[in-house]
């Protein structure tokens, strides 16, 4: 087993037994669960909406090369610049180059999972550039030196008391401060940062091919400030985020809002079409979009796993996942956690190193049920498991075990050999992880098959 897998098991074992964690997460996800049905009411035919959205993403991904080139063509027409980055290193290097050319000391950044994926803050820190998170949840996480716990609600695992304590420690605020007071403190600090920052970095929820635009969705307005105040605006975005048309937003914005937070539409939805144009009063002087691959074309290559690229990062599958709720977002040790993280990480990174995640699922199927893009998440986990077997990532012992299983299952005669005592002994001796908290398994003396044949004289 890989070291990453060992770490996963160690961390998840601790979290699964942590009842305080269980309580906080159940409370916070409970609030989400109460809100989502309200958002869903805005759809007269929710299933149709989801299927249409899936079709749009299907088309976008099947013609990804054309969509991206169209985006580049349209976006550069208004003076925007597009950089294609094959991996995290290329993306980070490009951002550094831009920052250095602008003498950037401080960079403000809106919430963006893709910047987490390339570990941008850490990289810039090494080059003495302060990268400030401006989303409140992310800011809390940055203060605590922790990666986001959840792709939509980064500090979901922290209670308001936890946050007050953290702010008191790091910023010297009153340990009994209310959430409103803490927000104001953060706001005051961040406002100054916006003004200081030479560069603003945002992610993108969608990039729009037909108009060459970037769509950013947020609830706090910090992304708007991050892209409007600094002279340079860098967008970093995974290539799968493309939508063929600006008109698709009519479908995707409400879906993202409802499945992400239960809102009808998120508070701020911006479409950014490029840098400041002649005659315009505000906006950044330059705007650069970095299109990041970083393993996405590996996912695209496989026609079965391709649909995992339809993900709009709403986080619904995390909130629906009983495993996520028990082990929390940090146990995974990956940027993207929960069901979608388990599906894509082995492809974005390394199947051998991350395949254990595909097995860490009870296959309950609730993720597939709640996904607005109707991605068959639990079936894709099975696909990953199949790939792991085909690519030789399973042990010799396991291979042999399934050979034996097949031999026995192909012949009722073989299946009927051996006594129940022997079966009980085998299971209880070799499957210790079953018996530890569930006691020994008891095989009855005779199987149904034997009993039936005896009763019916066969």
């Amino acid at each position: 087993m890989s070291q990453t897998a060992d770490k996963f098991i160690a961390k998840s074992t601790i979290k699964a037994a942590d009842l305080d964690h269980r309580r906080t997460i159940n409370f916070n996800i409970g609030k989400y669960n109460a809100k989502v049905p309200e958002g869903k009411q805005q759809f007269t035919q929710l299933l149709t909406a989801r299927e249409r959205a899936k079709n749009v993403k299907w088309r976008a991904l099947e013609t990804l090369d054309q969509q991206l080139e169209e985006f580049e063509l349209q976006f550069t027409r208004r003076g925007g610049k597009v950089i294609w980055a094959e991996n995290a290193k290329q993306a980070c290097d490009e951002i550094l180059k831009i920052c250095e050319a602008r003498n950037c000391k401080t960079l403000v950044k809106s919430k963006s999972m893709v910047t987490e994926e390339i570990h941008l803050n850490e990289f810039l820190g090494k080059h003495n550039i302060e990268s400030v998170e401006t989303d409140l949840g992310e800011y809390i996480q940055q203060l605590d030196d922790e990666p986001p716990y959840h792709i939509v609600t980064p500090a979901m695992h922290k209670s308001k008391e936890d946050v007050a304590k953290l702010f008191a420690e790091k910023l010297g605020t009153d340990p009994k401060a209310t959430p409103e007071q803490l927000t104001l403190t953060a706001r005051k600090i961040l406002r100054e940062k916006y003004v200081q920052a030479e560069v603003g970095v945002t992610g993108a929820n969608f990039i729009l091919a037909d108009v060459g635009g970037v769509a950013v969705t947020e609830n706090e307005g910090n992304a708007r400030l991050s892209c409007a105040f600094p002279k340079t605006h860098i967008v970093i975005v995974g290539i799968e985020k493309v939508l063929p048309s600006i008109n698709d937003l009519g479908l995707f914005w409400p879906l993202l809002a409802t499945f992400g937070t239960g809102q009808n539409v998120t508070v701020y939805n911006s479409i950014i079409l490029g840098p400041k144009q002649p005659g315009e009063k505000d906006g950044p002087e330059e705007m650069i979009v970095i299109l990041l691959d970083n393993g996405r074309t590996n996912v695209l290559k496989n026609p079965k796993t391709r649909e995992s690229l339809y993900c709009i990062r709403c986080g619904a599958c995390l909130n629906a996942c009983p495993v996520y709720k028990n082990i929390g977002g940090h146990s995974y040790g990956t940027t993207y956690s929960g069901p979608i993280g388990k599906v894509i990480t082995p492809h974005l990174k390394d199947l051998g190193e991350y395949k254990h995640l595909s097995y860490a699922s009870s296959l309950c199927g609730n993720c597939t049920e709640v996904c607005p893009m109707r991605i068959s998440l639990h079936e894709l986990l099975l696909e990953n498991r199949y790939e792991a077997v085909e690519d030789g990532f399973v042990s010799f012992g396991e291979r042999m075990a399934w050979k034996v299983w097949k031999k026995v299952s192909m012949s009722r005669k073989l299946m009927n050999t051996g006594s129940s005592k022997m079966r009980s002994w085998m299971i209880n001796t070799f499957v210790k992880d079953w018996t530890r908290h569930r006691g020994p398994m008891q095989f009855p003396e005779k199987s149904f098959n034997q009993l039936w044949r005896e009763r019916n004289g066969q």
């Binding site: 998840s12 074992t13 009870s362 498991r385 097949k406 908290h437 569930r438 044949r453």
Partner: protein, 239 residues
């Protein structure tokens, strides 16, 4: 009506009595029950472990063992759901395409067969006490079973049915998951059992012995006063 029994491998080996209870109920309702003693397994364990080729060979045997036009009934939504929803993928673009499609229509989980085919929701069973019904994930999401078993249980004389919180959340079994990720699996069982206990029920009833095997082990270890029962065990009781 002729019915072919599909007794999943682990039910065959571990819970023969439940299978006989299912037979008892089916016969009471006028079915002529047949059992092909050659049957073994539907192949799901291997498929879920990623060993799809091994699965396919066993699934091919399954198709042969259950050929014909009779209804097939199984005391497991998990195995029923697997054959129904995954065989089409396993045998995609193959000569048995129609056979597989047809089998998906002939195969029923036990409670579904009673409520949807036989149109029965009262079998005349009796059981004194308070019970809560556990939706298995396969029942709920693979087979779309929700109301049927509840109807059947509500008509069991003497039985009071109460709903538990988070009834649609997985109990944590998940096949090899229960062993490979035992601490997570057990934490999930803990929450399921706590929710069931909170209702004050004496019985936790389900369509799936795989969930119940896992929960029963956990309950016994903890010494809780809660008994797990398969739906067939309840419906065969008291007459």
């Amino acid at each position: 009506m002729n019915v072919q029994l599909f007794i999943p491998c682990f039910v065959d080996q571990l819970y023969p009595q439940t299978a006989f209870n299912m037979v008892k109920v089916l016969e009471k309702l006028g079915c002529t029950v047949h059992y092909n003693a050659n049957q073994t397994c539907c192949g799901q364990p291997a498929f879920n472990a990623g060993f799809q080729h091994e699965c396919k060979d066993v699934a091919t045997k399954f198709l042969k063992d259950f050929s014909g036009s009779d209804f097939i009934v199984a005391p497991s939504a998990s195995c029923t759901g697997f054959v129904r929803n995954y065989y089409g993928k396993i045998f995609d673009n193959s000569s048995v395409h129609n056979e597989v499609k047809d089998m998906g229509k002939r195969l029923y989980e036990f409670s579904e067969f009673l409520t949807d085919v036989l149109k029965v929701d009262n079998v005349g069973a009796k059981l004194e006490g308070k019970a809560t019904y556990h939706d298995s994930c396969a029942g709920l999401r693979e087979c779309k079973i929700k109301e049927g078993p509840r109807k059947l249980l509500n008509n069991v004389q003497g039985l009071e049915l109460v709903e538990m919180n988070d009834v649609e959340t997985c109990c944590g079994f998940g096949g090899t998951f229960a062993v490979k990720f035992e601490p997570i699996s057990v934490a999930m069982a803990d929450q399921k059992v706590n929710n069931a206990l909170a209702t004050g029920a004496q019985y936790m009833i389900s369509t799936d012995l795989s969930c119940l095997m896992h929960l029963e082990g956990y309950i016994k270890q903890k010494g809780h006063n809660l008994r797990t029962l398969h739906l067939a065990d309840v419906l065969a009781n008291g007459w």
